[in-house]
Every structure is written in structure tokens, then in C-alpha cells.
């Protein structure tokens, strides 16, 4: 459903010198598949996601091809791209506090896309917002729909973020470090919800994280990035259990023993 070919992103400074922050990355994503993108800070993970959403900062120049169901997103007009965002690709961000509007009730924020894109009436949109909140397992959705973000916990806010991304039933969800700001027990709940959505609705998911443990849990296939480049890609179990790239091996070796699990017996941390 998504085919990214030779995608590069250059940042052009005021002196005209370009820095390549995403360098010749290609991958395919099938319907219903979850792709994990893992790497450390500065690897280019977020820039890759923003390039797909066409939300890169103005100084960034993407090149290559991003095919979504046959449309090259990099060639679309901004107007056409607006119809893609939300409707065909939903995005979930890391910080559920800053991604939500603090001055608007969460129901209004979920309904916004439904009213804009689907021309639903207020009442219908509200009912759908409640359904969506139930879908992401928010208890007492009928009451919570009228809450402001500050009245919700971090985990609940991230569920609202997922509900917004889900509202227009896009075929593709991009989640950029969606559980990084959350406690592990809450993280587990969010991963369960995402997993269920992908299975039940046959959505495709790009899950970006620096956390290899989380990637191992959710992703069918995994792409490892360093310095804007793809280091390796393959089925998650293969990449994490038998990595071919030296960088993946060093990442795994740097993990705490507990998180590495059974791998701990074969690999020692760097000195």
C-alpha cells in the first residue's frame, strides 16, 4: 500500500550548503503490516515520517518517491495533500500534552476531522467521537468526551491522540514515539490498543521508536536507521535475533541484560 523509493531529505542552510538528513531510504509496507523504525537520536526517523506526511519544515527538500496507493505524495499539490492527511494517513505524536489543543474539549478535537472531511453534523460527529473513545478503551467515554486535555492522564491523552488519528479510518497510521513519554504499564495498554486496531481494521502502521524492546513487541518487520541511512531491514525476529548490520549488533549489545532477554547469554555489553 505504501512504497517509499530512494527517499532523501536535504536541509539547505542559509549559505546554500545542504546537509542530507535522510539518505536514500527505500521500503515497502503491505496492507495490515506493522513496520518498526528504530534508531538513536538524529537517525532521521522523525524526518522520514514528516516527509511521508509532507509536513517537513520549509528548509527541508525531499527527493525520491513516496507512493501511496499509486499516488506519488511528493508530487501532489498542497490541496490534494490536505485530503491525504487524516483521511488516508493518520499521525500519532510523542507528546500527548502538546499534540492536543489545551483550550478545546477532546470531543471537539476528535470531531473536527469528521465535520471537515465527512461533513457530519455536530450531533453525529459527537456520537462518533464517543464511539472512537470507546474503541481506544477510554472508560466512561460519554462523560470524558467533554473533558479538556488537562483533566486526563498522560495515557488517556495518548488514547485521544489515537482516536483523532483513527477518526477518518485512514489505511495507514504513523506513530512517532507514541509511548516514549508514558509509564511502562500504560505503554503496554497503548501497544495492545494499536495492535488490536491494526488486526481488526487491517490498518498498516509505521511505528517509530528508539526502544528496541517496544519495536520487538509490535513490529512485523523492522528497519534500523543511523545517520539518515537504512542500516538493515527484515522480519523483526530476524533483525533482532540475527542482525547483519554491525550497528544493529552494537545497539542490541547496549541494551540492559533484562531487556535483551535470552540474547543476553550470547552478547556482552561494550566496555
Amino acid at each position: 500500500m505504501l512504497k517509499v523509493s530512494a527517499l532523501s531529505v536535504d536541509i539547505v542552510g542559509s549559505d546554500g550548503v545542504a546537509a542530507r538528513i535522510v539518505d536514500d531510504v527505500s521500503f515497502d509496507l503491505a496492507q495490515g503490516e506493522t513496520l518498526g523504525i528504530v534508531g538513536e537520536s538524529g537517525a532521521g526517523k522523525t524526518m522520514l515520517a514528516l516527509a511521508i506526511m509532507r509536513l517537513l519544515p520549509a528548509i527541508a527538500r525531499p527527493s525520491g518517491e513516496i507512493l501511496l496507493g499509486g499516488d506519488n505524495l511528493l508530487a501532489l499539490s498542497e490541496t490534494d495533500m490536505c485530503a491525504v492527511r487524516g483521511r488516508r494517513i493518520g499521525m500519532i505524536f510523542q507528546e500527548p500534552m502538546t499534540a492536543l489543543n489545551p483550550a478545546q474539549r477532546v470531543g471537539t478535537q476528535i470531531a473536527e476531522g469528521l465535520i471537515l472531511h465527512r461533513s457530519l453534523a455536530q450531533r453525529e460527529a459527537r456520537q462518533q467521537a464517543i464511539d472512537l473513545l470507546e474503541r481506544v478503551r477510554i472508560a466512561d467515554a460519554r462523560r470524558r468526551v467533554d473533558c479538556f486535555p488537562h483533566e486526563l492522564s498522560g495515557g488517556q491523552r495518548q488514547r485521544v491522540g489515537i482516536a483523532i488519528a483513527l477518526a477518518l479510518r485512514p489505511g495507514l497510521l504513523i506513530a512517532d514515539e507514541p509511548t516514549t513519554a508514558l509509564d511502562v504499564t500504560v505503554q503496554k495498554e497503548i501497544l495492545d490498543i494499536l495492535d488490536e486496531l491494526v488486526s481488526d481494521l487491517r490498518m498498516s502502521l509505521i511505528f517509530i521508536s528508539h526502544d528496541i524492546g517496544v519495536i520487538g513487541r509490535i513490529a512485523d518487520s523492522t528497519l534500523v536507521m543511523l545517520g539518515g541511512r537504512k542500516m538493515e531491514q527484515g522480519p523483526t525476529a530476524r533483525v533482532l535475533r540475527a542482525p547483519t548490520a554491525a550497528y544493529t549488533q552494537s545497539l542490541l549489545a547496549a541494551m540492559p541484560r533484562r531487556t535483551r532477554g535470552s540474547l543476553a547469554r550470547t552478547q556482552e555489553p561494550p566496555r
Binding site: 537520536s41 501497544l191 509490535i218 531487556t259
Partner: protein, 277 residues
């Protein structure tokens, strides 16, 4: 516990008064609830728990940056809050802190030398050359160069900044360092280096560390003993191996289960817990 306790915390409780919006019924939040433990000299005690469990409030009280509502902090047999202001000031050089954010905790306008030397004012008068020597010594302990003293925080990476923060904590030659989520903001490979540095300091300098983290994997790497906090209470404490492999408390088990490990890869393993699979 075999050796003498460097730090002992007895029945610590900290209440915060919450003002409600309308100024009527004020509630009390018990951030730390009857916490007691002891830390042996030269050992690492890990404190693990999720946001809001009281870990950082506990750290602030042990650092004498906040006072408990009830209870006492005993350092080498002396109750910190019974000390005079002057004596407490003298004592402060024995316990130092390393914070989570290596960007927020270093003043960007000051050179590294000045940042690292700052706690030295606790130790009384030193000559200029003594100060320079102490700064160089601290920077070298954490794997930086003496010449780095002239540079500024923005010239360093996140991991190097955390080394600078550790150098600042070590410059008074403290007996106890409290590290509050000190590696949480770092990339994995850098995190491993900083953990290794702390373990080296423990071995070589008999440094005692109170290591606060939400990450069980990190705690297992570094801590000799671990205490688990939940809703302000210390619900379990013991040797790290025992607590992580044979947890006594249901919440500890829940924490362990929630943390992803590479033992189970893929959604099938993940979903097997659900009946519908």
C-alpha cells in the same frame, strides 16, 4: 546488610497541601508515605517506580532540599534535619545529585570549569590553583579532559553533558550521589557508557549511589539492592536479583510484565495473553 549504613531513612512522610480552585476544601496529598530503608557504604540502591510514585520527592528530602512532614534522614549517624544551618551546609558536600536532563541542568552561559567548580563553595576557601586542580581531577574521573574546562555546554553531546554533571557531583568528593533518572534521556549506547562509569566509581572510589529510575533493565544492571515505590510507599525492597526474579508484591510483577523484552518478539506472543488471540 553487611557493612555499616551510610544513609538511613526512617519513616519518611511528606504531605503536600493542595489548594482547590475555589479555595474551599483543601486536600492533602501524601507524596511519600512512611518510607524506611538503609544504604550500605559502597553499594548502589535502585529505586524504581512510575510517574507520581514519590521517587523524586524522596530524593529531594534526602538531599535536604525539602523537609519531611514526619521522619528523619540519618547520614553517618547524624540526623540531617537536627543539624544547625551551618553544620548542614558543611554536610552537603557529602551528598550530591545528578539530574535527568543534561541540557537543562547545565547553565549554557558558563564555561564547564565554572559549572563543575560550583559545589566547591560548600567546602570553604580554596586557592585558584587548587580549584583548577580539583576541576581537572573531576573531569578526568568521568573520562573528559582537563582542557574541556574552558569550553561551553553547547559544545558537548548529551552523554558528555551527563559526564559533566557527574563531574560536578563528584568535585566535593561526596560519599553519596543521588542519580535521578540520570540516564533516561540518553541514547542506548550512551546510557551503557554512563552506567559503566557509575559502576566504576562505585568499585574504585567506594561511592554510594541512590539510583532512581523507571527502567527495570537499567536498575538490574547497576543496583545491588532495589526498592519498589508505588503511590508514595516503598512496597518492596531487597537484593536486586530477588526482587526482579521473585517479586513479592503484585505491583512489582505487573511492572516486570509490562516491560518489553526481546524474549517475546512479534505480535503473536504479545497477543497470546488475550483470549481472542
Amino acid at each position: 546488610m553487611s557493612g555499616p549504613a551510610l544513609l538511613e531513612v526512617r519513616h519518611l512522610t511528606r504531605d503536600y497541601k493542595l489548594r482547590s480552585g475555589d479555595g474551599l476544601a483543601a486536600r492533602t496529598l501524601r507524596a511519600v508515605d512512611d518510607v524506611s530503608f538503609a544504604v550500605e557504604q559502597g553499594s548502589v540502591l535502585g529505586i524504581v517506580g512510575e510517574s507520581g510514585c514519590g521517587k523524586s520527592t524522596l530524593a529531594r528530602i534526602i538531599m535536604a532540599l525539602d523537609r519531611p512532614t514526619v521522619g528523619e534522614v540519618v547520614f553517618e549517624g547524624e540526623s540531617l534535619f537536627a543539624l544547625s544551618a551551618g553544620a548542614l551546609r558543611q554536610r552537603r558536600r557529602d551528598f550530591q545529585m545528578v539530574f535527568q536532563d543534561p541540557y537543562g541542568s547545565l547553565d549554557p552561559r558558563h564555561a564547564i570549569g565554572r559549572i563543575v567548580a560550583e559545589p566547591l563553595h560548600l567546602g570553604g576557601a580554596l586557592t585558584r590553583s587548587e580549584r583548577t586542580m580539583r576541576v581537572a581531577e573531576a573531569l578526568e574521573i568521568v573520562g573528559l579532559k582537563a582542557t574541556d574546562a574552558a569550553r561551553y555546554p553547547h559544545e558537548f553531546s548529551g552523554g558528555q553533558r551527563q559526564r559533566i554533571a557527574i563531574a560536578r557531583a563528584l568535585i566535593t568528593r561526596p560519599k553519596l550521589v543521588i542519580a535521578d533518572e540520570a540516564v533516561s534521556a540518553l541514547d542506548l549506547s550512551v546510557q551503557a557508557q554512563i552506567l559503566h562509569l557509575l559502576m566504576e566509581l562505585k568499585e574504585r572510589n567506594r561511592l554510594t549511589v541512590l539510583f532512581i529510575s523507571h527502567n527495570l533493565g537499567v536498575i538490574e544492571e547497576i543496583a545491588d539492592r532495589v526498592g519498589v515505590m508505588y503511590a508514595g510507599r516503598l512496597i518492596e525492597i531487597g537484593a536486586t536479583r530477588d526482587v526482579l526474579h521473585h517479586p513479592q508484591h503484585e505491583y512489582t510483577q505487573r511492572l516486570l510484565d509490562a516491560e518489553p523484552t526481546l524474549d517475546v518478539i512479534g505480535r503473536s506472543g504479545h497477543r497470546s495473553a488475550q483470549a481472542s488471540g
